[in-house]
């Protein structure tokens, strides 16, 4: 059981370093908190409303915007404040009425209502409802103007009649229904997506930092000294891999428990979640071993850890959810699945969104096991040469 002894020494060495405590336990939860807050599922999107002249048309428009569900209308004093609010992210969008809104419209002139929004992919919904509210008021005014210009009555009279007609007449409506397969991963909570993403990001990246330890073991001559004892190379490799694997498991378990208790993140079937972590931790350990075998200095190892760890996470849907990647482009979605991250996320999402069990994620787990096997084999083959050199 020399492998166990080797991994125990590694673990002790690892957790004596206070930085490890930070990156294994503190950082992931901190970032889940930040991400969850930033995705802002709890807060309603805010629409700034600038109206320099308080008149009936303005009030009407404000009321109809306020009636929209899922939108908070906030009065803002000036257009500068509103634009800055949107630029700084305090407001998701702002609508700016010109001074003398009603008077201009009544005098027969057209009015452009300024609108600014965040440059964010999911802003269209807000733009849509704002546009609908403006159009609703505008078409009524158009009716009054239509009648007025054709000499059928005064603007006010026509407007009053039109308002009456709109209440009395049934609207032409749209009946909405859906068909086809729903998109996967719909219906996840505010913290669910960030928690899953950060889980795979941190397990992979943190395990990868183990590569630097391996490089140190080689450079300090520890490997050679071990080799001079009756310890076969495969035992040494097993010991090194086992310590990385253990750290990954501890971190995975901690992130799941922590996000569950603090943020109420749903992880679905517990056995399924544990199995996914186990297999993914094996993939990460394999990657760490391979990196540790390939590079020659620990500075290089830590640089590559950052690059590879973050790149694969970004590509694999840990930072921008897979569902969004799928909507963006098919190529991006397909490339994402080159990374093990994407397969682990698919597994988590099928456990949570589809309430799947172990059988449902067996395919994903097999693919991940394949990654782990290939990486570990490559690492062993390469390490055998470098460890004893």
């Amino acid at each position: 059981m020399k492998a166990l002894a080797i991994s125990r020494v590694n673990l002790v060495r690892y957790f004596r370093n206070r930085g490890s405590i930070f990156s294994v336990f503190v950082l992931p939860l901190m970032i889940v908190l930040l991400l969850g807050a930033a995705s802002g599922g709890a807060a309603l999107p805010k629409l700034g409303f600038v109206a320099p002249t308080p008149d009936t048309f303005t009030t009407e428009l404000e009321q109809s915007l306020k009636a929209v569900e899922g939108l908070r209308v906030v009065k803002v004093e000036s257009d500068d404040v509103a634009v800055r609010g949107v630029e700084r992210g305090d407001l998701q969008a702002a609508i700016i009425l010109p001074a003398g809104y009603q008077q201009t419209l009544r005098s027969g002139m057209d009015v452009g209502i300024r609108y600014v929004a965040r440059k964010s992919p999911n802003i269209q919904g807000i733009t849509g409802v704002v546009n609908a509210a403006v159009t609703r008021q505008s078409t009524l005014l158009r009716t009054a103007r239509f009648a007025e210009t054709r000499g059928m009555g005064t603007f006010d009279k026509a407007l009053a009649v039109a308002e009456q007609a709109r209440t009395a007449l049934p609207s032409v409506t749209v009946v909405e229904s859906t068909a086809g397969e729903p998109l996967p991963f719909a219906g996840l909570g505010q913290f669910d997506m960030p928690a899953q993403g950060m889980l795979v990001l941190f397990i992979f990246m943190n395990t990868l930092t183990g590569a630097a330890n391996l490089v140190q073991t080689r450079r300090l001559g520890v490997a050679r000294r071990m080799y001079s004892t009756p310890t076969p190379v495969h035992t040494m490799i097993a010991g090194e891999a086992l310590s990385q694997f253990t750290i990954a498991l501890i971190q995975g378990g901690f992130i799941i428990a922590g996000t569950l208790l603090i943020f109420g993140v749903d992880w679905g079937n517990p056995l399924g979640a544990i199995l996914t972590i186990v297999v993914f931790a094996a993939v990460a350990s394999g990657a760490a071993m391979l990196l540790g075998a390939l590079v020659s200095s620990d500075q290089q190892a830590s640089g590559i850890t950052w690059a590879v760890g973050l790149d694969l996470a970004a590509l694999g849907g840990a930072m921008i959810p897979l569902a969004q990647l799928k909507l963006l482009s098919d190529t991006v979605y397909r490339v994402a699945h080159v990374t093990p991250h994407a397969w682990a996320l698919e597994a988590f999402q099928s456990l949570v969104a589809d309430k799947g069990g172990v059988a449902d994620i067996a395919g994903f787990l097999l693919i991940l096991a394949g990654y782990a096997a290939v990486l570990l084999l490559l690492a062993t083959w390469r390490l055998r040469t470098v460890l004893v050199r």
């Binding site: 949107v86 929004a117 032409v172 909507l327």
Partner: protein, 398 residues
């Protein structure tokens, strides 16, 4: 000063020979910026294409007007006419490609169904409804189809209201179809003018390019302090100090090499992301000032940590931790300003936050707006740096 130059040159040579400078300073951030560009560019390059099925059981003028004037005039829309509701449903069901490309794709993103007698109903005062079946796997395009139908329905309602108003005011019946067409040709008195593009915001691709650059900058300049502490540990510092070189020259030399690495890495990243993923950093003069201030801030903070640390390992660990925390709080990985409230304001305790805000402000083109961010970053750098350098200098005596 000559000694400082020599030390800086030697350090730079060392750092470049050991390839980690390239990896941390260029490869890692550039790789991430490219990945984010690759992932996010489809948003900005997005051209709308959709396939919509139309089952026109009405065959009247009102449904024809929708197909010809609304659907066919919307760019990127391809119309597939079908004979029955079942056929329309089958097409929507068959959509597998969520991208809504029109190429070789089967099925339809959504279907519009105009029931029999729709045109007549619209012209009467009876309730009338158009049906839209959206594909669940093609949410964006289905959403557009719904918006098109709702827009048209609200125009039809408005025509209906206008006709009723006209008939009420004049007291006689009018030709409803002809009046309706006239109403629709009248422009709306009030319209939204979207000015989002003129606002000072970074587009997602530039955001990540700049975010990754400043995030890794703190790791890049860390090398200067690490080198100093490392020389103390390996004993070469004692030899260096026994020579007739002022202590400050040693310190300046180390900092100078880190400064150079920081500037070069930021510049390379700016140029590379501009060329490769169309990042738009803004007017070069403003960007140059922001980068300069950011490098000073990073150096100062790293020097402070190095000055307070007891060992190289401790300095490295603490620098990384602080760089990560400041990076996340400052909103380099995701837009914390979106979070609003305290979290959004918190970013200004980090130079990263000032850098990102400076670039966002700069994006409208006016260089003068970066004065505050530049001063804030310089303040971070100079205050932290002064304390750090004093401590490091003291450490050199030992």
């Amino acid at each position: 000063m000559g000694a400082a130059w020599t030390i800086a040159r030697k350090d730079l040579k060392l750092r470049l020979r050991d390839r980690s400078a390239y990896i941390i300073g260029i490869v890692a951030p550039l790789g991430l910026a490219l990945v984010f560009g690759f992932v996010l560019n489809p948003i900005s390059d997005f051209t709308f294409t959709a396939r919509y099925a139309v089952a026109d059981l009405d065959r009247g003028p009102v449904s024809a007007l929708f197909v010809d004037d609304v659907l066919r005039s919307t760019k990127g829309v391809r119309v597939v006419k079908v004979a029955s509701v079942a056929e329309a449903e089958a097409l929507v069901d068959a959509t597998v490609n969520p991208l809504g490309g029109t190429g070789d794709k089967q099925g339809a993103d959504a279907a519009f169904i105009f029931p029999k007698g729709f045109s007549a109903d619209v012209q009467s005062e009876r309730p009338a409804a158009v049906q839209v079946i959206g594909s669940q796997s093609s949410q964006t395009n289905a959403g557009v189809s719904l918006a098109l139908a709702q827009g048209y329905a609200s125009e039809l309602t408005s025509v209906r209201v206008t006709v009723a108003t006209v008939e009420n005011l004049t007291g006689r019946r009018v030709d409803r179809l002809a009046t309706g067409v006239k109403v629709l040709q009248t422009p709306n008195p009030a319209t939204l003018v979207d000015e989002t593009t003129t606002t000072k915001q970074l587009d997602p691709v530039t955001f990540y390019a700049a975010g990754m650059a400043i995030f890794f900058l703190f790791f890049t300049v860390q090398s200067g302090v690490t080198a100093l502490l490392e020389e103390r540990r390996t004993g070469t510092m004692a030899r260096l100090l026994s020579s007739p070189i002022p202590r400050s020259a040693v310190l300046i030399g180390k900092m100078l090499s880190a400064f150079a690495l920081g500037i070069v890495s930021m510049t390379v990243l700016m140029v590379a992301t501009t060329l490769a993923v169309d990042a738009n950093w803004g007017p070069p003069l403003g960007v140059a000032l922001l980068i300069l201030a950011a490098v000073v801030a990073a150096l100062g903070i790293v020097a402070l940590i190095g000055g307070l640390a007891r060992s190289t390992e401790q300095a490295n660990t603490a620098s990384s931790m602080i760089a990560i925390i400041l990076g996340f709080i400052g909103g380099t990985f995701f837009d914390v300003s979106q979070a609003g409230g305290a979290l959004a304001r918190l970013r200004f305790i980090s130079p990263h936050g000032w850098f990102m805000q400076g670039l966002a402000d700069l994006s409208a083109g006016d260089v003068s707006v970066i004065i505050t961010p530049v001063l804030a970053m310089l303040a971070f750098g100079l205050i932290a740096g002064a304390i750090g350098m004093a401590r490091l200098r003291k450490g050199l005596r030992a």
